[in-house]
């Protein structure tokens, strides 16, 4: 008994030596994890890209999506996507992005319709995620696009038609990060300015939550 236990320890030491030499040879593999089968991946891989990769077979129209939207979505987003309380508004906001108060909605801001399908499917309804069927997701997506005047009521949304929907703000994004975008010179350390005038005071707004002990 004791002897065989020692043998196991010795075998373990050998395995360590093998891993170390594999790493030294650039293999850097530790033999951990198992092969993920296509069936497993099919059950986990739910993402959708703008080019349509990941969109499943199925379809829906805005006409069909209206009832589902009213039942599943309207309590937060309002019957027409106008939103309840501080929940996200889904419609309107066109031409507002350069204004002092941008309204960022599916219609005014989102660059890709695929994002809408992906997000509804993975995260909505809030509190009951991944409960919508593929057809329901197409139908709700179509309804939200319809509310934004982007597709007709009877437009059939499916894996072929969805990537072709052109969103109004498709070209509104700058992919490259332009930072640093402020002066990078050696900073001034003395007599840097003549005046430091208070322009804003937080207390004037009085929106800071009070502490219980205050």
């Amino acid at each position: 008994m004791f002897k065989s236990h020692r043998a196991v320890v010795f075998a373990g030491a050998l395995a360590v030596a093998v891993v170390a030499s594999a790493a030294a040879m650039g293999g850097e593999r530790y033999g951990l994890g198992q092969t993920a089968s296509p069936e497993l991946i099919a059950g986990w891989d739910i993402d959708v890209r703008p080019d349509g990769q990941g969109l499943p077979t199925g379809q829906g129209t805005a006409a069909g999506g209206e009832t589902i939207f009213v039942e599943q979505c309207a309590s937060c987003h309002g019957e027409f996507g106008e939103a309840v309380g501080r929940y996200p508004v889904l419609i309107g906001g066109g031409d507002s992005l350069a204004s002092p108060d941008p309204v960022k909605t599916v219609g005014s801001y989102w660059p890709y319709a695929s994002t809408l399908w992906d997000y509804i499917h993975r995260a909505m309804p809030f509190g009951d995620a991944q409960s919508l069927s593929v057809d329901e997701t197409y139908a709700i997506t179509a309804y939200v696009l319809y509310l934004n005047d982007l597709v007709a009521e009877d437009f059939v949304l499916d894996r072929n038609s969805l990537p072709k929907v052109v969103m109004p703000n498709r070209d509104g994004f700058i992919a490259e990060d332009p930072r640093p975008d402020t002066p990078a010179a050696e900073p001034c350390v003395s007599d840097c300015k003549t005046e430091a005038k208070v322009m804003f005071k937080a207390k004037r707004l009085d929106v800071t939550p009070e502490r219980e002990s205050d």
């Binding site: 993920a36 986990w44 992005l97 960022k104 402020t182 350390v189 804003f200 939550p209």
Partner: protein, 411 residues
């Protein structure tokens, strides 16, 4: 009556008999011998995990209820004003959830790596913990930290203006080790990281970053991740905005282009004054804040007071921090406490004597790339007021003559 009289006379008699006599406490001072110096305290295991002193009960995370529609998709803030050094205690690390805290049973959790790989793999949590571990200190900052201050000074609190940042020592496995295990195909350029929460949080991460310094972490500050920080597995994207640090990490797909998920299009994109939006602004630029004094830490007396605060940069190590007491007219180089680590909070101090006059306190961080923390005026000039994210501007605290401290913005 009799009893106490007897006790008093007994004490006197005792004193006469050579036993201890307690002198009265000095005026205005606590008892010479408080109860805890006489009576036995709790034994071991009274608190098997342990908790802060009840006298520190004010040191907690707090939220701003009007900011969000629900607490499940919301944020709270680290009490920076009460912390010392550069490490954040696990229970005080700010929380940002999009679908509440996923309470994950590690036995039922897996991490799948698939897509443009030679061998798609599924790992148990134990598998991940068996890879060669590394431990690293990194700050984590929400891209929206300070986001309420773009239009003007709004929240009168260091916790609320700057508390969407924390810094812990993470332990995990380099992401490149896991990707090597699966084997990357030549066309691989991007990853999609996905969480197991009810928001199914997903972000695209460029492969260069993944192979540089990303980790898959399972511990923070020596213990397993807290549920609200992504237990049992979290992606770390050092120096980059916190939203990318996918909690409850369950899937990594390797691809050749970004996915344009909701969190990298509708949210976490920065609208400029002309209405165009910057999309992939990942790095958190150098930033600093004075944590004492601050609105929660008013000045209580004139004379010596060490000004202290924190500085950090997502692009490397902090090189220098300057402090001004006159609203940026003159600057004094602060002392950086060691260690000064890359992509990590750095503690600074400046010795100061307060004369009792009104002053405007500011700190200004510089990092090893030569970047200088800008003023809010400079940032607005370039980006307008509606970008929400990436406000790394200099914070101004006004200390008035009575010692109260207020969040202000100056010319």
């Amino acid at each position: 009556m009799r009893g106490s009289a007897a006790l008093a006379s007994g004490l006197a008699a005792g004193a006469a008999g050579g036993r201890i006599v307690r002198a009265d406490s000095a005026a205005g001072q606590p008892p010479n011998v408080p109860d805890w110096s006489r009576y036995l305290g709790s034994g071991v295991d009274a608190a098997p995990y342990g908790a802060p002193s009840p006298y520190e009960s004010e040191v907690v995370r707090r939220n701003v209820p009007w900011l969000t529609a629900t607490p499940e998709s919301s944020v709270n803030f680290t009490p920076l004003q009460d912390l010392h050094g550069f490490v954040t205690p696990n229970g005080l690390c700010f929380e940002r959830h999009h679908g509440g805290v996923a309470e994950v049973d590690p036995a039922d959790h897996r991490l799948v790596i698939h897509g443009l790989v030679e061998k798609p793999l599924v790992f148990t949590v134990d598998d991940i913990r068996r890879f060669p571990p590394v431990s690293r200190f990194y700050f984590l900052e929400c891209a929206a930290n300070g986001g309420m201050e773009w239009h003007g000074a709004q929240l009168n609190s260091c916790q609320y203006t700057h508390g969407m940042v924390h810094c812990v020592q993470w332990t995990g496995v380099p992401l490149k080790t896991l990707l090597a295990e699966a084997g990357l195909k030549p066309k691989a350029k991007w990853l999609l990281a996905e969480g197991a929460d009810a928001a199914g949080m997903t972000r695209s991460v460029p492969l260069d970053k993944a192979l540089d310094d990303c980790l898959v972490a399972y511990s923070q500050n020596g213990e397993r991740l807290r549920p609200e920080q992504g237990y049992p597995l979290r992606l770390l994207v050092p120096g980059w905005e916190g939203n990318m640090w996918i909690k409850w990490l369950r899937r990594i797909e390797v691809g050749d282009m970004p996915w344009h998920t909701r969190e990298e299009t509708s949210k976490y994109t920065d609208v400029m004054a002309d209405g165009k939006a910057r999309q992939f602004t990942w790095a958190m630029d150098a930033k600093s804040v004075i944590t004492d004094p601050c609105p929660e830490k008013p000045m209580r007396r004139q004379g010596y007071h060490p000004i202290t605060g924190l500085a950090w940069s997502g692009r490397g190590a902090i090189k220098r921090v300057d402090v001004s007491v006159d609203g940026g007219k003159n600057w004094h180089t602060a002392r950086l406490d060691t260690p000064v680590l890359s992509k990590c909070l750095t503690r600074f101090y400046l010795d100061w004597n307060w004369s009792g006059e009104e002053v405007l306190l500011e700190s200004r961080a510089m990092d090893e790339t030569g970047y200088v923390q800008p003023s809010i005026v400079e940032l607005r000039k370039v980006r307008g007021e509606n970008s929400i994210y990436h406000n790394n501007s200099i914070q101004t605290w006004l200390v008035n003559a009575s010692g109260e401290v207020e969040n202000v913005q100056i010319s």
